[in-house]
């Protein structure tokens, strides 16, 4: 292990020496360290004076930690430039090949460069923060609370590693420094959004949520580092020579992975022939018949094997769902007490349910389409958040959905109703279909994240993304969406009747 660390540090030390000899890195860093804290001190003083004039003491209080975050963040931006060219820059200058020809392991180079890329900007950032705090002291501005100070220091550290690790991934996947710089927007945009969110939390003053945000960023950072380690290969660095997005290839690979065949569906082929005014070929009924006959094969060869592939993710998701229900049930039971449901409220609920059943309610009625699209939106949201967070976001939203069930059941218990009967009449009938749907859709996103961070010498990041997205779509179209539709139908026509009878 000592030898492994020696080699990693050797790479890092060389990089650090190189950085410390490059005036193009040192000069902006020096300016940011020396000038920026002073500017922020001045800004803090002016802003505090200004808002105090109008009695905005609270805002004045929150400006200090906000500017602390800004002071810490700016030197970190330099890390992006260094990290973006970590591998691709060396490839362009031809300095990478002697390293690749040496006994250094892939991870020695990756971790060495990650360390070097993070250390200098982080050191600059902490010096800036120290100077800013010194300025506050000299201007008799109160320090932010200790927990906020620790939060800002941690946030700066995780954001630095986040940016550097993401930039290194881009660097390993790019063919030129120019391409890497252009791809940097994929780091800048999410980080900018992150900073805005963190700023809002600072002004909101909710330090508990800020702790959670730091934890979330740290988890995503860890996963990005893992992704980089999983996909960093000598072969990929020197073997990739094409610098364009091959959408045709990507779509072809996606379709082949989704359908199990490179050929387009017979119905589409018929349509294409029609558009070309080519009357030779299959007739429409036959084409539709062929496609319908292929559905069974598709389920057998594509959908069920995809479910088997993500079995671990499905079990994990089921377990997390059960835990979310249990914890929220226990939490609400412990926290909420002394509530009762009056006879009037009970009648009102029964009337609302009757209105939903008969369609003669006071404007609130459920429809299959409404419920289906509402749940569909939730599953798309899970996909969206999961795709950009290696499944972490998906699991969080999924967990919140399940926690709601536990919370509602606990609330029913608190007001004196039987949670079991509520579950049997109000949740289970449609839940039999809806819950497996959301479990499968979330598990497919979690599987996507797990596959991304799992070392795989045979597939590139792009290929993994294509294959796992195809798996998600198979699960969604083949199982999750049809289950949602059935659930929406039951929730519209059966669940209200059962609930109404229960409340009666």
């Amino acid at each position: 292990m000592k030898e492994q660390l020696r080699l990693t540090w050797l790479v890092a030390r060389r990089e650090l020496t190189d950085q410390m000899r490059d005036w193009r890195i040192l000069l902006p860093m020096g300016i940011l360290i020396l000038f920026f804290p002073y500017l922020m001190n001045y800004t803090a003083l002016q802003a505090i004076d200004f808002v105090n004039e109008y009695g905005g003491n609270l805002i004045a209080e929150r400006i200090v930690p906000f500017l602390l975050m800004v002071v810490g963040f700016f030197p970190v931006t330099v890390s992006l430039i260094v990290a973006l060219e970590a591998f691709v820059g060396e490839k362009e200058r031809g300095t990478i090949e002697p390293m690749l020809s040496s006994p250094l392991a892939d991870w020695h180079m990756y971790v060495g460069k990650l360390t070097a890329g993070s250390l200098v900007p982080l050191a600059a950032s902490y010096i800036s923060i120290a100077l800013y705090l010194l300025g506050l002291m000299l201007q008799n501005i109160p320090f932010p609370p200790l927990d906020v100070l620790v939060q800002m220091l941690l946030l700066t550290a995780v954001q630095t590693v986040l940016m550097v690790s993401a930039a290194i991934i881009i660097s390993t996947q790019s063919t030129s420094v120019r391409a890497a710089n252009l791809l940097a927007s994929f780091i800048v945009i999410p980080v900018a959004l992150l900073i805005q969110g963190e700023s809002a939390l600072i002004f909101w003053g909710d330090t508990e949520i800020l702790w959670l945000a730091i934890l979330g960023v740290a988890i995503v950072t860890g996963l990005i580092v893992r992704l980089g380690l999983a996909h960093f290969q000598r072969e990929a660095l020197l073997g990739r020579e094409i610098d364009m997005l091959n959408l045709r290839w990507a779509f072809g690979a996606f379709w082949a992975s989704f359908s199990g065949s490179a050929a387009a569906p017979a119905g589409l082929r018929w349509l294409a022939n029609r558009l070309r005014k080519n009357t030779v070929g299959q007739r429409l009924p036959k084409a539709i018949g062929e496609d319908l006959a292929g559905i069974k094969t598709w389920y057998i060869n594509q959908v069920f094997p995809a479910v088997r592939r993500m079995a671990l993710s499905i079990w994990l998701t089921v377990g997390l769902g059960a835990l979310a229900i249990l914890f929220s049930y226990l939490f609400v039971s412990a926290q909420v007490r002394g509530l009762t449901l009056s006879a009037d409220a009970l009648n009102e609920t029964a009337n609302t349910l009757q209105g939903m059943i008969t369609g003669n309610g006071d404007g609130f009625s459920l429809s299959v389409a409404y419920l289906f699209f509402n749940n569909l939106r939730a599953e798309i949201l899970i996909l969206f958040f999961g795709m950009f967070s290696f499944g972490v976001g998906a699991v969080l939203i999924y967990g919140l959905n399940f926690a709601l069930i536990g919370g509602v059941l606990a609330a029913m218990k608190v007001i004196g109703l039987s949670p079991w009967l509520i579950f049997l009449t109000g949740i289970l009938p449609h839940g039999v279909f809806e819950l497996p749907s959301i479990i499968l859709a979330s598990a497919a996103v979690l599987h996507m994240g797990v596959r991304m961070v799992t070392p795989n010498a045979r597939e590139s990041i792009g290929e993994v993304l294509i294959h796992t997205s195809a798996d998600w779509l198979k699960i969604a179209i083949g199982l999750a969406f049809p289950l949602l539709f059935i659930a929406a139908f039951i929730e519209t026509y059966i669940t209200p009747i059962l609930l109404y009878n229960f409340f009666q």
Partner: protein, 309 residues
């Protein structure tokens, strides 16, 4: 020792290298010749365990390139097409860095650095950053890096490119010395004269395939046919005198004599010289017409382009 069988590399549908078989014994130099993009660098990268072969196998210094990549890389000294120097490091720092990468202890590193810098005439510039070096100096420093750990196998891409004649001679001498100390060496080069001087064996690679492989003489025989000799004669002879010499196939006459092609010169030439003297022909000299590697290479390329090879 460098061996490979059916060594193949495909990038998607592109066949970069196809079925390369080579065998370089200790103390041997193989020159890998071919156009740009022919597959020389990809072959070297597979033999350095940087690229995984799509098919086939390779063994370097006794280690399989797929099974033992770290040991392969520790046994190989590579001079890449681009010198690959860190411009903000001095020669000493650069060699010391790679010495540490190859796990040489401090004493050995210092000894090797001194030896190499002194041999390549870089001792005076040792504390200057390599960014300030001339092209030739950079090339020498890159070669020094490839030799720092005294590897048993050397893979050298254009070892003397950008060098002045004296430096190139120095490098060639060093390659000769390494060869005599039982290193296995592969040189990728476009400098055919250099290949002719240094190589024991030559492999010509075209569009990923090794078209021809063997000693220079074997390649000459195969591509240019039997050797040609030129007889230089003093004045006062008659071409008809040659008609009576049996087995002599005159290729063409020159101003001072004639040229002939002979399948087996060791047997034919002494008899021919005797016959010429018996015919009272004034023989001044008999010498083989030189056929350079360049002629061999160009012929191979012509035949390959025509699909005849």
């Amino acid at each position: 020792m460098i061996e490979s069988e059916d060594l193949t590399k495909h990038f998607g549908t592109f066949k970069a290298v196809e079925g390369v078989n080579i065998n370089v014994r200790p103390g041997e130099v193989l020159a890998l010749l071919g156009q740009n993009g022919a597959g020389k660098t990809t072959t070297v990268r597979m033999l350095t365990s940087i690229l995984l072969p799509t098919r086939g196998w390779g063994r370097v210094a006794g280690y399989d390139v797929v099974e033992n990549p770290a040991k392969v890389r520790a046994s190989v000294g590579v001079l890449t097409e681009m010198h690959g120097l860190y411009s903000r490091m001095t020669a000493i720092e650069y060699l010391d860095f790679f010495g540490q990468v190859y796990s040489l202890d401090a004493n050995r590193r210092k000894k090797r650095i001194d030896e190499l810098l002194s041999y390549f005439g870089l001792a005076e510039a040792a504390k200057r950053r390599s960014g300030e070096y001339s092209k030739g100096m950079r090339q020498k420093l890159a070669l020094a890096r490839a030799l720092i750990h005294e590897p048993p196998v050397l893979l050298l891409d254009e070892p003397t490119s950008a060098m002045d004649p004296e430096s190139a001679q120095l490098v060639r001498n060093e390659i000769g010395r390494l060869k005599s100390s039982q290193r296995s060496i592969i040189i990728c080069t476009h400098n055919l004269l250099e290949a002719e001087m240094l190589a024991d064996k030559i492999a010509i690679i075209y569009r990923g395939r090794v078209l021809l492989q063997g000693t220079l003489e074997q390649l000459r025989q195969k591509l240019l046919g039997a050797p040609e000799y030129e007889v230089t004669l003093a004045g006062g002879w008659n071409p008809q005198q040659l008609d009576s010499i049996s087995g002599l196939k005159v290729a063409h006459f020159t101003e001072t004599g004639f040229r002939y092609v002979v399948e087996n010169p060791t047997e034919t030439n002494p008899a021919l010289v005797r016959a010429l003297i018996e015919q009272n022909m004034p023989v001044v000299a008999v010498q083989q017409v030189s056929r350079s590697l360049e002629q061999v290479y160009l012929k191979a390329m012509t035949l390959a382009t025509e699909g005849a090879l």
